[in-house]
């Protein structure tokens, strides 16, 4: 019989559990305000807090920026006006970054103690090892407890991934909207517009970055946990191990690059392309452009102008 590898996702059951959770939300919030729960939030569930902060900061930033636009655009650009609207999300971003950093440090320290030494490859290798273990593991025949534990871990990871993807895509869309807002980019206000665009893009990038940091940290922890659960289950019942899966095939590009002959052809081709581009550049005046720029002091490049 083919082993059942699904983790038992039932759509109707999921909706039911969601509605149950929503109903229980006021009670949970009430509990959250208790002192001991606060402590748990800052010590054990910091990643959840950071995720929540990311979403809140993003929403806050978008609202503030919208108000800034609506109240007469960005011009005349002044620190006072931008500060008035953006200081709040900026502070929130700072707090989020600090929490994310503490979260990373805390987990990193724990890992250091557990592994007895830091290995930079840990995360990648751990991912590979866990995936391999999972591939060789007969999940269908495993106990309900193991199934539910693994399912919860995966759900946790998927949730953080959803946050990361949604934050990144929102940030990307928002950056694109800012950049293609052509009416705002004019010759007279080049610095103001660039500063604003850079402010939006950097903010969006930092927000996405924090989200992916949290996801990375979540991956590391859940995979570690998954590995432990699977190994324990295998120790208790060795029959759960499936026959080894076939060795993973390498990517086509990797094979091309690593094969000596094809690699040589690829390098030669790229060299030829680069030389052709240089010749074309010399012919179309690109080289003269480089010289004309380089013989004059670029005041703005060095920060004087």
């Amino acid at each position: 019989m083919k082993p059942n590898k699904s983790l038992g996702f039932d759509f109707s059951a999921k909706i039911k559990s969601l509605s149950d959770k929503t109903k229980a939300l006021p009670k949970k919030l009430k509990n959250l305000l208790k002192k001991e729960n606060f402590k748990t939030l800052f010590t054990e569930k910091l990643d959840v807090l950071v995720s929540a902060l990311i979403i809140a900061t993003g929403i806050c930033f978008i609202v503030c920026d919208y108000i800034l636009f609506k109240s007469g655009g960005v011009r005349p650009y002044s620190a006072e006006r931008v500060g008035k609207f953006l200081i709040f999300p900026m502070i929130m971003l700072g707090i989020t970054a600090v929490f994310a950093f503490i979260d990373g440090l805390r987990k990193n320290r724990r890992t250091l103690c557990e592994r007895g030494g830091y290995n930079e490859m840990a995360n990648d290798r751990l991912g590979r090892i866990t995936k391999k273990l999972l591939a060789d593991f007969d999940l269908g025949s495993a106990s309900e407890e193991v199934k539910s534990e693994l399912s919860a871990l995966r759900k946790k990871r998927v949730n953080t991934l959803t946050v990361a993807i949604s934050t990144t895509s929102t940030a990307f869309v928002f950056s694109v909207i800012t950049l293609i807002n052509t009416d705002k980019f004019t010759v007279e206000h080049v610095n103001a517009d660039i500063a604003r665009a850079a402010c939006v893009i950097i903010f969006a990038s930092v927000l996405s970055f924090i989200a992916w940091c949290v996801y990375s940290s979540q991956c590391f922890n859940t995979r570690n946990e998954e590995r432990r659960i699977i190994r324990e289950a295998l120790r208790e019942n060795p029959d759960l191990r499936l026959p080894k899966a076939e060795k993973e095939q390498k990517g086509r590009l990797s094979r091309i690059i690593e094969s000596e002959k094809a690699g040589f052809i690829l390098k030669a081709l790229l060299l030829a392309v680069s030389l052709v581009l240089i010749v074309l550049g010399i012919m179309n005046g690109g080289m003269a452009d480089v010289l004309s720029k380089a013989v004059a002091i670029c005041m703005e490049c060095i920060g004087i102008g």
């Binding site: 550049g281 690109g286 003269a288 670029c298 102008g305």
Partner: protein, 537 residues
């Protein structure tokens, strides 16, 4: 006394520079061979044909010592000029470096990498790599896309060249360019231009410098777009480091020993410093692509095979000692030859750029006595011609851009004259021109605004009429061309104290005496104040 010598000897043995450090210092000196630019001369930067080419590493071309262009700055400028011609040249140059060396350049040739390496040698607690730094290393790709590609391309649509990364982030420009220029007393005029942008860039530079003490190669790992581009080609590059997968036992010692956020040796984060070669227990890490880096074992193999083909009785395959000696001799000979050639090249460059070149291209200021100014009253005639405030503005006849004739400053006497030097290739010049246009309209009849376009650059000179008719059709400003002085500068610009930085603005009072001068961008309010001052004199 003997004890001191022994201590010095021991110190020098302990702190002997590695081969990598020597090559880094060598390349930094070679790329910045115009040492006289920092201390003497008439200020400004090096102007010569070698600036047609780019250094492989990050080295600002506005640095007084630089004899070549910075590939990142030139790439942004190429994108910024893509409205008129495709950036083939810079893409070709970057691709060539990528295919040849990859990030080996970052580890061995980049002058800013050397600065960071030296700063990191200061004995302080260090921040080790972690998952946080690993994720942070992606940030340089964001900077590459946003600041090097998207922003310059967006501003092409507005006809403004904007090197966004150089302008808002690059600490090398502030460190080598701004500070390099400001330490030369001949450039004291630049102090007047320091503003909020300099404050921002200076703070950023200081932050990078401080961070480099605690975090290894902080700029290269998290912020350098050039390293990001090179890193993508690390696996394809002809020179560099390689990992023999068959010999690798996956012990992870190389990755643990590496200070950068690599996942495996030679990946996109690897700067190919070669420190991992020593820690590899199976010697799976080697240099690829060149006999220069031929490891001893390989050489023995090669020598043995050659000997066996000769099949003589004198040397046999088993004669390892002879082969080892031959290998040692070969290595020594190669090392000496390479050192002599490299030292000669550096010496020749230093001599040429600091001694020979200044003799050929004598830095001559125009002789102000040549400027003919007839018909002035005796009192005015007593004021000497010059470039400073209070001097009489030198007179020259310049051709008008519309081809309708020529114009001389002496013909404008009786009105306040604003002279602005600009070029279509210069972003800040174009950005401030509307302010001059506004002044010309607001003070019509009292003030004449004369904008003088660069002439040594024939391409941009040809673009000027089109740009003017597109943006300033019906303007009250006068548009003229400068007179080419040599291949890299103009005569009137040089006569009025130009050091190579554009835009430059002068305000003359109604007698033709300079009342204001600035070699930098101007805001409307600043310009208006200068004009008002000249009017009230």
């Amino acid at each position: 006394m003997k004890n001191i010598f022994t201590k010095i000897k021991n110190f020098s043995v302990r702190h002997a520079p590695t081969k990598r450090r020597l090559i880094q210092v060598y390349s930094a000196l070679l790329f910045n061979a115009n040492l006289k630019g920092y201390i003497s001369g008439s200020g400004g930067i090096f102007k010569g044909d070698t600036k047609n080419f780019c250094t492989p590493g990050l080295n600002c071309y506005s640095c007084p010592g630089a004899i070549t262009s910075c590939p990142l700055g030139a790439l942004q400028n190429a994108f910024a000029s893509s409205g008129k011609s495709a950036p083939y040249y810079m893409l070709g140059i970057i691709l060539l470096y990528c295919v040849m060396f990859g990030r080996w350049i970052c580890g061995w040739l980049c002058p800013f990498g050397l600065v960071q390496d030296l700063l990191h040698k200061i004995r302080t607690p260090k921040v080790k790599k972690s998952r946080i730094t690993k994720v942070l290393s992606v940030f340089k790709y964001i900077l590459l896309v946003v600041f090097v590609v998207i922003l310059p391309l967006i501003y092409v649509l507005r006809d403004i060249p904007l090197p966004a990364f150089c302008k808002y982030i690059c600490p090398e420009g502030t460190f080598g360019g701004a500070l390099g220029l400001l330490i030369n007393p001949a450039n004291d005029g630049f102090f007047s231009g320091l503003g909020p942008l300099f404050t921002w860039k200076f703070i950023l530079m200081i932050s990078f410098i401080v961070a480099a003490v605690f975090i290894y190669r902080v700029f290269c790992r998290f912020f350098c777009p050039l390293g990001a581009i090179y890193g993508l080609f690390n696996k394809i590059a002809i020179f560099g480091i390689k990992l023999e997968k068959k010999a690798c036992v996956d012990c992870g010692k190389c990755v643990t020993a590496c200070k950068l956020d690599i996942r495996e040796v030679g990946d996109r984060e690897c700067i190919q410093c070669g420190d991992c070669i020593a820690v590899c227990p199976t010697q799976a890490i080697t240099w690829k692509g060149s006999k220069i880096f031929l490891p001893k074992n390989d050489f023995e193999k090669d020598t043995s095979s050659v000997c066996s083909e000769d099949a003589t009785n004198v040397i046999t395959v088993n004669n390892n000692a002879v082969a080892e000696n031959a290998a040692e001799r070969f290595k020594k000979r190669s090392r000496i030859t390479a050192s002599v050639i490299l030292a000669s090249v550096l010496l020749a460059a230093l001599v040429y750029f600091n001694i020979v070149d200044p003799l050929i291209n004598k830095d001559e200021r125009p002789d102000y006595s040549d400027f003919d100014d007839e018909g002035v009253d005796e009192e005015l005639a007593k004021i000497p011609f010059g470039e400073e405030v209070g001097d009489r503005c030198p007179i020259m006849t310049l051709d008008l851009v519309d081809g309708s004739g020529s114009i001389s400053i002496s013909s404008l006497r009786g009105k306040v004259v604003v002279i602005n030097f600009w070029g279509t290739w210069c972003g800040p010049c174009k950005a401030e021109l509307p302010y001059f246009n506004r002044i010309a309209s607001e003070y019509e009849g009292e003030v004449v605004v004369l904008t003088i376009h660069t002439a040594y650059n024939k391409t941009s000179k040809a673009e000027a009429p089109g740009y003017i008719s597109e943006h300033f059709d019906g303007s009250k400003m006068l548009f003229a061309y400068d007179i080419p002085y040599d291949d890299y500068s103009d005569e009137y610009y040089t006569a009025l104290g130009g050091l190579g930085g554009y835009p430059m603005t002068l305000v003359l009072d109604d007698r033709g005496v300079i009342s204001f001068t600035k070699q930098n961008s101007m805001h409307y309010e600043e310009l208006k104040d200068a004009v008002e001052n000249a009017l009230n004199k």
